[in-house]
Symmetry: C2
DNA sequence: TTGAAAGCGCTAACAA
DNA sequence: TTGTTAGCGCTTTCAA
């Protein structure tokens, strides 16, 4: 491996001069500079970033921790895409650690990134408790930004989406369409997104809706199964709200398979505004979640832009499409 | 920041002893060990991975380069999910660099990972030429594995999917269903996947099919538009093959919007076996692409498992569903 | 404008 | 079994 010293020797100068040339400090004579560049080209030298970061005590990496359970959702691509985009926009690189499926593993992933001396870390937590997160934030030498879920402390380290408000928006829309019996398909717990959405459903739904809930795990298949369970249940309903689009899509298939029409017999809505929702038939009414904005805030907070963290949670916007219609007079059962 | 020296002082031993304790060399007296652990706990010491990797000259990171144009495809989640999975399985971490949208940027991303001293690098190239890739592979001190596309050299650094064979499988199936006029929606070039699939289509389609091709860019929307173009074209066809599932799904919507039935009037097929295909109506006939296997081979090659690189490309398997039916007697126009 | 030397935090001979 | 010492490849004072 060719080091800076090799370049220096080859150019007939000292290590420090090479370093200066590379770091653009304009204190080097042009002719020497040229010599150094020539030597660099000749030797094929690549600066060692580990050494560089160790010496400067700073790095240009931003870490992201996500539990791989999230990988399949439409969330994931959008999240990573935007994370990479905003990192690069601020001359940083995204580095990525799998939080796997337990609090320990999530904490481990964060720890790895801390020890890699990332400039900052974004965590999309799934298992780690508030208390643990708070501890991590406070002990970390670099900014650790908690995404998606609301923390009760350290708002400066927290960019969250107000999923409760999102749930309300969706429920209000369904109610405004005349639906009074609304079923809910939940995402896999623990999940702050699901928890808040479910709470909104519960608060807005008619009091006797307790039986109108089925457990999903965010996947299309679970939405399919959950919908079957609900259809076969004793309680009737005219609308079905799923905690994400994937499950809503699975649910629509289940309804169709049972000969029910969407939205004439049953209306269906989801969350997240997955692209496919537009192309599905019927096209899916959903809530567009401001992922891009969330990531942007997090990254800019890390790179220390003079930017205010949003005081309140970000809220999504309703996307009205065809899968929700007015309540039919008679429900399916 | 608390360093190893701090721990050593706190425990009343030397730095090397602390190091030994940490690295599990069982040459340290139990009592001393205990002392060190106590000091570590007290000080809250976290080893600096940069320093460690600089000193040991090795790292446990595996890099992945993807162009962000790929982020939206169903490919992406699967790719990253499996990459993370197999990395962790072999006690490595995935680190991720955006190839953005030019050869220069891809090469830059690879360079970054090289300079971060990754143990190995996986590249899903989009823009970089064979010659450039070859150069990179040969010059890199660590294994650089080229994914997806076939290289003419260095099969030991190349895990590819035989997309031409995949295209043939799909075309053979369509032909076996009696289709003779088969249209094709292409992915965005440059792309080895599209190139090979398109070639297979061209070789298998009837010679007068030249007009039956429309340009897409992998997105659902482009599939939608491309299908409209084809429908409005002068040439009739009974089947439509799209270079990926997303475009096939967009195309199906276009057909429906024009009052055409799938598969009765027109059959549609795609590639990649995106999950949603199963839930769409009609469910989508597609080719399952062995992404997981590809990544596994790449990772195991990097971590130096006694494993043979597959001699030939991996091939996908046909997934027959509802979007393809027998050729109808009369096409749409 | 340049070079020498110390130091970033760690590992790994070598000696003791 | 432990401590001393010399690196890993880079940056950055401090002198020259």
């Amino acid at each position: 491996m060719v080091t800076m010293l090799d370049v220096a020797r080859c150019a007939g100068v000292s290590k420090s001069t090479v370093s200066r040339v590379l770091n653009g400090k304009n204190v080097v004579r042009e002719e020497v500079k040229a010599l150094v560049y020539k030597a660099i080209a000749e030797t094929g030298y690549r600066p060692n970033l580990l050494a560089q970061q160790l010496a400067t005590q700073k790095s240009s990496m931003i870490g992201l921790v996500i539990t791989n359970e999230v990988y399949n959702g439409p969330f994931f691509s959008t999240l990573v895409y935007n994370a990479a985009k905003f990192c690069e926009q601020h001359d940083h690189r995204l580095i990525f650690a799998d939080g796997k499926h337990s609090a320990d593993e999530e904490i481990n992933a964060i720890d790895f990134l801390v020890r890699m001396k990332c400039a900052g870390i974004m965590v999309y937590p799934r298992h780690t408790s508030q208390a643990q997160l708070e501890k991590i934030i406070n002990e970390s030498p670099v900014p650790v930004m908690i995404l998606n879920q609301q923390l009760t402390v350290r708002p400066d380290r927290n960019i969250f989406i107000d999923h409760y408000r999102g749930g309300e928006i969706m429920m209000d829309y369904l109610l405004s369409q005349g639906h009074s019996r609304i079923a809910y398909i939940s995402g896999k717990m623990p999940s702050p997104s699901n928890q808040a959405r479910q709470q909104a459903w519960q608060d807005k739904a008619s009091p006797d809706s307790a039986a109108l809930i089925a457990q999903g795990d965010w996947s299309m298949e679970s939405g399919y199964q959950a919908a079957l369970t609900l259809i076969d249940g004793a309680e009737s309903f005219t609308a079905l709200l799923a905690a994400n689009d994937d499950m809503a899509l699975g649910a629509i298939k289940a309804l169709k398979d049972r000969g029910l029409r969407v939205p004439q017999d049953i209306s269906v809505a989801g969350f997240d505004n997955a692209k496919i929702g537009h192309y599905f038939s019927p096209s899916l009414t959903t809530l567009d979640t401001p992922i891009e904005q969330m990531i942007q805030c997090a990254v800019e907070q890390i790179v220390n832009l003079p930017l205010d963290t949003p005081e309140h949670g970000l809220t999504g916007t309703l996307v009205v499409r065809d899968s929700v219609g007015p309540a039919s007079v008679s429900g399916p059962n």
